[in-house]
Symmetry: C2
């Protein structure tokens, strides 16, 4: 398996395009994207567990009930959640995409991201959709159009072999704030030219979501619009995957690679973030225990603020583990901080080590920091990802709507 | 029942004193307090649910196993949690207080607050304790000595009658960061001259903790050192309260008043906070449902940042309710913002109202803001308290230890 360029257009038969239609004020910001497959796709999706769900999600769920889809339309700047005429406008957005792509409305997936509670400017979207030019190798435009407070486009793709056939799988996503997924996440669109039954595609997606997107946190807020969609159009002409087995496992591995890569890009570009935090719990009794502990540390407001200040305040690591609801023995825990600038153990058997504070600061002053926690209780290992809490997070969210 | 001055010295027979002993660097900052009762007290406490517990908590639990105590010693600046020699040093701190007060060590309660993971400078505490002068009407000194990043001392007391006898109950506390109590909280010391059996005192304390300290949040981080203690020395000479009934209910009401008042002071002076947020859920089906919803809103990082910016971003209220794990019907929810500057409804039946943004901003630009949420599902009402998320929170916690 090799990493390649191309995002959602890395797979055969997928086109993409975007325009600035006017949902966002800035003329230079693309705000409406369409992703289209030349052939019908097996399709699967995971959605937010937030009880308050955007209308576009409810519509997409209906459209995916047959496991098939062929296009995605997505606007940024307005979430179409708790908004007047939400249901009607979600449907109109699907119709606009169907018109552009000459598909049945039921084959269109609709996603929205942005402010909650405002009426979607549907005329702008309807007119904008008709201006979209769908092109090959055009993933970047779509990735730009779905960004909100993201500072970077997020994209990943791989190429691999199934039964001697070259297959592709790639995706784009957006994250930034309101990121504490409890299912899929924010928005992620993944395409593949693999031939697979949609029930198996869904199984793989659900399993891998738990280990990737559900292991990142920016601010503990689970959005109303989270959605991760996979479309597979079969144009690679591999033998249709109908059962679990070697081909399914290979595909799962590729999907895991792409989804983990995208998830880390989201954590790394969390709202206002200056560093990625990777928290790994080693030697745990169970995966569940390790995950709860790692996630609690990666989500701790206090620990995230300490990381912003490059302060090796490991007491907050133990504190966050202590309220994680996962049992462990605080008396035998070791904690180490690491980065490309080195490695320093700060806590042994639950007690302070007399470490060099200056060296620790140096290690923490970089864009990617690892927190290594050893429980000495078993052999499970889990990593969760987060980011630091900065002035910019407060600034961005203190006045998001203006 | 009337509010009075006097804090922990408002009750008959309670003395207090404090010194700067050197745990804190600043010479002008008191860092060691003792609270002492002339007579033995019925005593009860609630502790953090964090699995990582400071050694002073473990010792205090032992000392309170007989329901009796007569003095409290508390240092700020060092939590004595995950610290070398933690157990020995907690005991030495109790011994120092016993020496000063001529009590048995078992009658002393020990509390610490500050940095986790550093060795307690026990000699400074031992020497400092002997310098403490215990005086009447001296609650303020004790309240100052237990502060960490608190900006204000926190104190409340009431006077009321039991069977025609005048009784007093008062307390002090400290809060600021790492505040998301899951039992009692941070540190709160409450005294009374009421005569009551310790088992009943404990029952009242536990019930009221759930409705007061457990309903505030500053940052979602539950500390390793949370403790709330009540001492009652019986010097008011009321008829001993041995069973539930009218006198017990009156006492509970007084305890509730003082604890709720202290809890609100903590939320209001949350680390870096510029405003208190009171989130009230009306017309809920159950107290539990209302509490989960109110707490989720009061704890939402995104909503707290919006409040810092006086941004009436009610979508984040619904979003936080949606991931609270408490079921409700988003389609019939109403949301109103209020303060001393007025009241404005922003959401009706789960959808945006066309409200005046300027007026909303004016209402939110003050030191105390109410969020009123109506579920239209029953008749339970619960309020939880929090504060906004500011640049100062990030600043304080980005470099807490230096």
């Amino acid at each position: 398996m090799e990493l390649i360029q191309g995002g959602v257009c890395a797979s055969k038969g997928f086109l993409a395009g975007a325009v600035h239609c006017g949902v966002r004020k800035s003329q230079s910001k693309l705000d409406l994207a369409v992703i289209y497959s030349k052939k019908p796709c097996a399709a699967a999706a995971v959605y937010t567990t937030n009880q308050v769900k955007a209308d576009c999600l409810k519509l997409t769920k209906e459209h995916l009930s047959n496991g098939k889809a062929q296009a995605i339309i997505c606007n940024s700047g307005n979430a179409n959640a708790c908004a007047p005429f939400g249901k009607e406008n979600a449907l109109k957005e699907a119709v606009a995409c169907a018109k552009l792509t000459q598909l049945d409305t039921e084959d269109v997936i609709v996603a929205s991201t942005g402010v909650i509670g405002q009426t979607l400017p549907i005329e702008a979207i309807e007119q904008g959709a008709m201006q979209i030019e769908l092109k090959e190798n055009n993933s970047l435009e779509a990735a730009q159009a779905i960004m909100t407070t993201d500072t970077k486009t997020k994209s990943c793709a791989v190429s691999f072999e199934l039964d001697g056939i070259r297959v592709h799988l790639g995706g784009i996503c957006k994250g930034s704030g309101m990121i504490h997924p409890n299912m899929g996440t924010m928005l992620a669109f993944i395409t593949s030219d693999v031939d697979i039954e949609s029930s198996l595609l869904e199984k793989a997606l659900q399993e891998i979501t738990k280990k990737t997107f559900n292991r990142i946190s920016v601010d503990g807020d689970t959005s109303t619009n989270d959605m991760c969609v996979v479309l597979a159009n079969g144009m690679a002409k591999n033998k249709l995957i109908q059962t679990e087995g070697e081909a399914y496992d290979t595909l799962k591995k590729a999907l895991h690679t792409v989804m983990e890569n995208l998830a880390i890009q989201i954590a790394s570009d969390g709202e206002g973030a200056s560093r990625l935090l990777s928290v790994t719990v080693y030697d745990a009794q169970s995966e569940k225990q390790a995950e709860k502990l790692a996630k609690s540390v990666a989500s701790s407001t206090l620990f995230k603020a300490a990381m912003f200040g490059s302060d090796a305040n490991w007491g907050r690591v133990l504190c966050a583990m202590g309220y994680s609801q996962a049992a462990f023995d605080p008396e035998i825990v070791d904690v180490t901080f690491a980065s490309k600038f080195g490695k320093i153990q700060v806590c042994q058997s639950g007690k302070a080590l007399d470490f060099d504070e200056e060296q620790a600061k140096k290690i923490l002053q970089t864009d990617s920091v690892q927190v290594l926690i050893d429980l000495h209780q078993g052999d499970e290992v889990v990593t969760c990802w987060g980011c630091d809490l900065t002035y910019d997070y407060v600034k961005i969210n203190g006045d998001y709507r203006t």
